[in-house]
Amino acid sequence: MSLAIRVAGLTKTYPANPPVEAVRGVDLDVKVGECFGLLGPNGAGKTTTLEILEGLLDPSGGEVEILGQRWDTNDRQLRERIGISLQETRLSDKLNVRETVALFRSFYAKGITADEAIARVSLQEKAKAFVDKLSGGQKQRLAIACALVGDPELLFLDEPTTGLDPQSRRQLWEVIREYKAQGRTVMITTHYMDEAEKLCDRVAIIDHGKVIALGTPNELILQLGGEHVIDFTLDGPAADITPEVLQGVKSVTAARASGDGFTLTVSDPPAALPALLGLLREKRATLAGLTTRHATLEDVFVNLTGRQLRDAE
């Protein structure tokens, strides 16, 4: 299968005192037809990496190949072949939806019609509405229509659903899935782990400018050693209950303190639960609350970095 994106040894350093190393050696291969997610907290280097791939920022070092071409030699051809939605672009308030998409269409030598692009994001009813009359979700869909109107082979989306309500997020996911169904490639950044699990074929988790995990969402979760998680809190302090002690509980593969309580990754919950309750009784600790759930990419991040995604922001 041919590659849509090939990145090797990518670095980006901003001159400052001391210099800021935003990207510190990233290697990525994205196949044609894949939906690839870049995950990580704000400031991890996701947007910098993405903007280098989009040809908006020059790398300090490393190699980037997009659709078999390079930015320094094929800038214009590449621009015709990719579609981009940036974080926080404010389109002109006093243009309507169709005028905005038509303006973007005019920049491309070939593409779909403005109306077709509007239909793909289901904004037909708003075609004549001014941009300042659109909701947040509608504005994001318009931004994606502007990215789709050149009929791109590769779509870059930088946090397209940040700040949207659940329904608007699901509508956007639908648009992305339909685009992917045509065999096209998508690269998306997000800090919503559930979004990455639902949308992406593969993800790379980025922290401090480096890829710290790479694979399908399922693979990464399985790497935890178990795909189930038990969260519990205790009533009052219990000095005897520590992550080290909890490690010894049957079927527990990882244990850590989180907030007021503890989080355990377990391979077999029916075996782990009685063992855990037994341990607590033995240590005279009283349970205040306990939940079990499937492991998520969020747990993968916490496991790898020891930090919560939100704390890291």
């Binding site: 989009e54 908006l56 006093k94 303006l103 005019s106 050149g150």
Partner: protein, 354 residues
């Protein structure tokens, strides 16, 4: 599908006419300003010179004032009777131009007090007119040369000076603010970066903005010229209309170029405002918009002459008031060409899309 240049221009025009406030500030405000200034400085009959006759115990002063009030002078005089202290105070503050004392013993039965330092030599004028009258009465055969009054004509009044200045001012403001703020706003909204991410040609973008602005400015200037033309103001273009059109286009292009340069790197509206003010304030002050730049000291003149707005204003006045033709375009062509060129090429070199 239409050419990107056409759509860039159309978008710019739509954004403009769909926001009433920008419509007002670009078209409404200059028109109102010129109406107000034009009315305030419209030529009218000069105010009579006031002469104070000093009050006496009897009615001598009143009779004197009445007698002089009936006489005819080369320019209008009015006579008021006031106590001496008030009369001298009013002379010092310029409320009256001359103080007249009834004095039966003096030649012509009056003594005069004047103030040479009074503004516009009004006191000198009043004294001369009164002396001229006294001498003519004493010697009716005094020779008087034949006199003709020059017919009133447009070109020399303040309004004729003001309108070209306002046109030049609008050309500068429209070009610089229009282009500058528009671009900085696009940059702040990250829309410039978004455009950069498409195959859009940068030349289409720059050209689109400039052409749209030129269009706005042309409409604006036509409105101003139209208002100046109504009989109420009666400003007339004495020179070549085509040369006037070329000069306006040239000035518009020059100032949009400077606007591009000012906006090429500014990433906040505040920076842009500061830069604009630095460029425009000096020209408002020096380039003869409201009053002639001749009144600035000699050593400043070479600097004033090479400012684009000075060249534009002088050119406009030469064509509109003095009946000049294409020969008036030579200097503006040189000055505006240079400044506009510096603007465009500097902007292309420095322009920041992100």
């Amino acid at each position: 599908m239409r050419h990107p240049l056409v759509l860039i221009i159309l978008s710019h025009i739509r954004e403009f006419y769909r926001s009433p406030s920008s419509l007002f500030w670009v078209y409404g405000f200059p028109v109102i300003l010129s109406l107000i200034l034009g009315t305030a400085f419209k030529p009218r009959e000069p105010e009579p010179l006031r002469i104070a006759v000093v009050q006496t115990g009897d009615d001598t002063a009143d009779r004197l004032a009445e007698e002089w009030g009936k006489k005819e002078f080369p320019t209008k005089l009015s006579f008021v009777v006031v106590p001496e202290a008030d009369a001298l105070k009013q002379l010092r503050t310029g409320k009256v131009s001359l103080v007249m004392y009834p004095d039966a013993s003096a030649a012509g039965k009056v003594r005069l007090t004047w103030d040479e330092r009074q503004a516009n030599r009004q006191s000198v004028l009043a004294r001369t007119v009164v002396e001229w009258q006294l001498q003519r009465e004493a010697n009716p055969n005094l020779p008087v040369p034949p006199l003709d009054q020059i017919p009133e004509e447009s070109g020399g009044r303040y309004i004729d000076f003001l309108i070209p200045g306002l046109i030049g001012n609008n050309l500068m403001g429209g070009g610089m603010f229009g282009v500058g703020f528009y671009i900085v706003d696009l940059r702040v909204r990250k829309l410039l970066k978004r455009f950069l991410a498409t195959p859009m040609r940068k030349t289409d973008f720059m050209l689109g903005i400039m052409l749209t602005r030129l269009m706005f400015v042309l409409i604006d200037v036509s409105v101003l010229l139209g208002i100046a033309h109504i009989p109420y103001f009666g400003v007339q273009v004495h020179g070549n209309w085509l040369a006037l059109g070329v000069l306006i286009l040239l000035a518009g292009a020059c100032f949009t170029g400077m606007g591009l340069l000012v906006a090429s790197r500014a990433s906040t509206i505040e920076t842009a405002t500061g830069l604009m003010n630095a460029v425009m304030l000096s020209q408002w002050l020096l380039s003869g918009v409201f009053f002639s730049s001749d009144s600035f000291p000699q050593w400043l003149q070479p600097f004033i002459k090479i400012l684009p707005l000075t060249a534009v204003n002088d050119g406009l006045r030469a064509i509109i008031n003095d009946g000049a033709g294409f020969e008036a375009l030579l200097w503006p062509l040189l000055v505006c060409g240079t400044w506009g060129g510096i603007g465009f090429f500097g902007a292309i070199k420095l322009f920041k899309w992100r």
